[in-house]
Amino acid sequence: MSVLLAAEYATAADLVRATTLIDETAHEVVETYSPHHIEELAPPRRAPVALLSGAAGIGGALAAYAGQWLIDAYLYPIDAGGRPPHMPLAFVPISIEMGFLAAAINAVVLWFFGARLGTLWEPVCDVPGFASTGYWVVARGTDEAKLRSVLDRTGALRTEFVA
């Protein structure tokens, strides 16, 4: 039967050091929490936001161009000042803007799901004193006393039971 304990640290450097020490004692770091981005904690793999958003942007721009052709050259080809119904140059500004918009919306949607937002509660929320403004680690072990002792050795300000 495994146990989860949460420990709070004073600084980002303490948190980074603690995760290394916990790993070395064969316990598992389940999650880390910090009030700002810490490069050392982030896995080396980059989130694929830029690539997918770029693709969405190109798709959005092409779709906008096709939409403009559909409504102004095919469905409703009125003669406005003698301009041809299909006028590529005039279709460019909206295509560009819609491309940017599609890329941005795609980035935000990816972020929402990638960062697992929308879950308003998880067990760590009930840990006394837990806040997103602190440096916390949640670690898993099989023996609570041993895990607690490991966390104390890593310089934790306090250690709390999670589950």
Binding site: Y33, S34, H36, A47, D72, A80, E97, F100, L117, S132
Partner: protein
């Protein structure tokens, strides 16, 4: 005392008076809109030939103001400029509020604003679709995109701080409201990794928008055959002016906030001086583009274009525009001026007025002196025009004051991150 506590300083009398004044002006805007919609835009000074008058001047002015927010947040983020962070949230909020003011004008200028949704190609059975070869749908697409991307960028930056406010909330109402707004953000490593990637991606998307949005606004004019407007230089001139006026507005907002909340240790004189240097640099580029524009108009040899170059909608307005945009910023060469906050504030205020006058001169004068002398005319704004302009200033200030009270206006999580890295 943490930065969060300092931002929660109780509202003093100064804030209440400012809120009441800006609220009163916002009511003037409401009255102006109701009157305009009820009676029609005949209550404005708009006429033929000055069909694009006050409303479009104000639209161009406000859209321009919005540009510095994205410039500071996106471009300076990508270039890793260190002084950007403390200014970013205030500048981004300024962008959102300025775009909201700008959007009011073209919608009212439609004459029948309740049909504004016709600009969007919504599914319908009539078979009458928007004419995308007209510049009006370009504007709608550009402004809507800019507003939405700015909103997303602002919200993503704000989210960790909303979570911090939620965690520090002492009342149930604040816990619930900020709990919902924070979307369950807890600052896990995974969420920070995604946050960083998305924030940078959105910055990269927003950066070209700084150029495209005002360029598209300028193309409304450049694609017309009106002398003085029909120029490929116009988008460049508009974008430079936009960034210039936007930086001035950042200083106008940041200096009082810094004084009232006692944030001179976070928003230091160095930050203000850096911003002032950008005002000076953009003023110089603006001067260059004025000269370029004037030369190309003279070199065209076309009588109507040359005539527009020499004619002005109002000599006073032209003098204010040139004095405020080109002469006054030269004071910023002085290090002492750049490090004197209230002097910077005064200079920035004058620049804002001058930039509005520049927009007025650029838009109105060519309309009044078209190719055919028989079509020449005069223009003067009506009281409703002036009331609506003053009202947007009031609404902008009202929303900004409300933002200061309701949301964390400093990017604390980013500042803490920078501090930890040092």
């Amino acid at each position: 005392m943490t930065l969060y506590d300092r931002m929660r300083t109780p509202a003093g009398w100064g804030w209440r008076i400012a809120f009441a004044l800006s609220g009163s002006l916002a009511l003037v805007l409401l009255a102006g809109i109701v009157y305009t919609v009820g009676v029609g835009i005949g209550v404005w000074g708009t006429n033929i030939p000055a069909a694009w008058a006050f409303a479009i001047v104000n639209f161009v002015f406000w859209i321009g103001i919005g540009h510095a927010g994205t410039f500071i947040s996106a471009i300076l983020l990508l270039t890793k400029t260190p002084w950007r962070t403390p200014l970013s949230r205030l500048a981004e909020t300024m962008t959102l509020l300025a775009v909201a003011q700008a959007a009011i004008f073209p919608i009212l200028h439609l004459g029948r604003p309740w049909f504004a949704y016709w600009l969007a190609p919504y599914p319908q059975a009539l078979g009458v679709w928007p004419q995308v070869k007209s510049a009006l749908p370009w504007d709608a697409a550009a402004v809507a995109t800019y507003g939405l991307v700015s909103l997303m960028f602002w919200y993503i930056g704000l989210l960790p701080d909303l979570a911090a406010v939620r965690d520090r909330a002492t009342t149930r109402r604040r816990q619930v409201v900020f709990g919902r707004l924070a979307l369950g953000w807890r600052g896990t490593t995974q969420s920070w990794r995604w946050w960083k990637a998305t924030y940078v991606a959105l910055a990269a998307i927003a950066t070209p928008l700084v150029i495209t949005v005002h360029s598209i606004v300028a193309m409304d004019f450049a694609t017309a055959l009106t002398p003085g407007w029909h120029s490929t230089l116009l988008p460049f001139l508009y974008v430079v002016g936009a960034v210039f006026s936007g930086f001035a507005m950042v200083l106008v907002l940041v200096i009082p906030v810094r004084a009232v909340f006692g944030l001179s240790d976070v928003l230091t004189d160095d930050h203000l001086a850096s911003c002032a240097k950008l005002v000076l640099a953009s003023s110089m580029i603006l001067a260059f583009s004025y000269i370029l524009e004037a030369f190309s108009e003279w070199y065209s040899g076309e009588p109507a274009v040359r005539h527009v170059l020499l004619s002005t909608a109002s000599p006073v307005i032209t003098a204010i525009a040139l004095g405020g945009n080109l002469v006054l910023p030269q004071l910023l060469w002085s290090r002492r001026v750049r490090r004197a906050p209230w002097l910077l504030f005064a200079i920035s205020l004058v620049i804002l007025v001058a930039m509005w006058c520049e927009r007025f001169a650029l838009i109105i004068a060519p309309l009044l002196r078209d190719h055919l002398p028989a079509a020449w005319g005069d223009y003067s704004p009506s009281a409703v025009d002036i009331g609506i302009l003053a009202g947007t200033v009031g609404l902008f200030a009202l929303l900004f004051l409300a933002f200061l009270r309701l949301l964390p206006f400093m990017p604390v999580s980013e500042l803490r991150g920078e501090e930890a890295r040092r």
